[in-house]
Symmetry: C2
């Protein structure tokens, strides 16, 4: 069962928590990049590793039993800070900051570096799928009640260069619990991957809106 | 242009490099999990962050100008240590260790924790796509010359629990530069995501095998 307890966190407290934990995740993102690209010798690696292990021990002194999950706040906000694509506390997440414009398009501009590599110098095809799956899902959702992927397909037009990227998605129609969405990923020379999918409102989210 | 210089690294040197850098990436994986799940206070976070930033500075003292890329060794081995799915030097990679059995099936057993979360307690649908895209691509490749994704589709049977997972893929046929593959992801209760895709030998890899 999923836990949908609403948490009573004030806007000020949310801001304070964000100011504590967001810079930590950003530091870890820099460390991930450094870990992949470093050429320092074994002694320097050992010294870095000792500091990393010490930081991990400090952070584990008090921690959640499980995952971060998704917390719903009394304010109506959805706090998905652990999410692998948008989570500001998840160092794996770029993180995407999804925008929604008046025409119904969901989009984001973001940067992918060495940590997201597949073919040399290029974004892993599966990372393009990860980003687009999330973005089409956000387009298909209303911001609070999620719709989860039913089916999704990707067409790779050409390889996507690592660097500054843009992705966007729109819903094309909704039929009961199913919402259809399309979208694409682009680098600075244009569209590289096209996606289309069907997103489904999960049973627990239907129950929740009763 | 992609660089396919063969590197002359002995088996002993490869082993030595692995022993230096693999444990570093593993430490960063532990740190990623701790960063998402920590509940320590602002002072403890600041102390951890200082250690992380110090480690990053040490590692950046000497580093590659660009990404890790894929290095081809004289021994015939492909060294994709920076790859986001299988890279032993990439802390984002679980990393997958892909096995190939005599029947032509490519498979892997692996664990996904808090860092790969989408819906609470469950694997992000896009992470399932990332893993399967890679695995079907490996099944469609011969181990050295890669085939890249042309098109791929996913059907989500049900949500995938975070934890110990299994994925497998087979090629169904090859027609010129196109190879067709199918596969699935499973948790301890069975198949959760099905995939099928067409993988294409890129022009540069065709040139290379001349």
């Amino acid at each position: 069962m999923l836990d949908f307890t609403l948490e009573n966190i004030s806007a000020e407290e949310l801001q304070r928590l964000r100011a504590v934990y967001e810079p930590l995740a950003q530091s870890v993102r820099e460390l991930i990049d450094a870990t992949i690209r470093t050429e320092v010798d074994a002694n320097a690696v050992a010294a870095a590793k000792a500091e990393i292990d010490s930081a991990t021990a400090r952070l584990r002194h008090k921690r959640l039993d499980g995952t971060f999950g998704v917390r719903y706040l009394n304010s109506g906000e959805r706090m998905a800070w652990g999410n692998v694509v948008i989570g500001i506390r998840n160092p794996i997440a770029p993180p995407l900051v999804v925008q929604h414009d008046a025409s119904g398009t969901s989009w984001c501009d973001f940067h992918l570096g060495a940590a997201y590599e597949g073919p040399p110098g290029h974004v892993h095809g599966g990372v393009a799928a990860l980003v687009l799956d999330h973005l089409l899902g956000e387009a298909a959702s209303d911001g609070v009640n999620p719709r989860l992927t039913g089916t999704i397909s990707f067409r790779y037009v050409r390889a996507t260069r690592l660097g500054d990227l843009h992705a966007e998605a729109v819903t094309t129609r909704t039929d009961g619990v199913k919402t259809y969405a399309t979208g694409h990923l682009a680098d600075d020379e244009g569209v590289t991957v096209e996606a289309e999918g069907v997103f489904i409102q999960p049973r627990w989210a239907r129950d929740r809106s009763d």
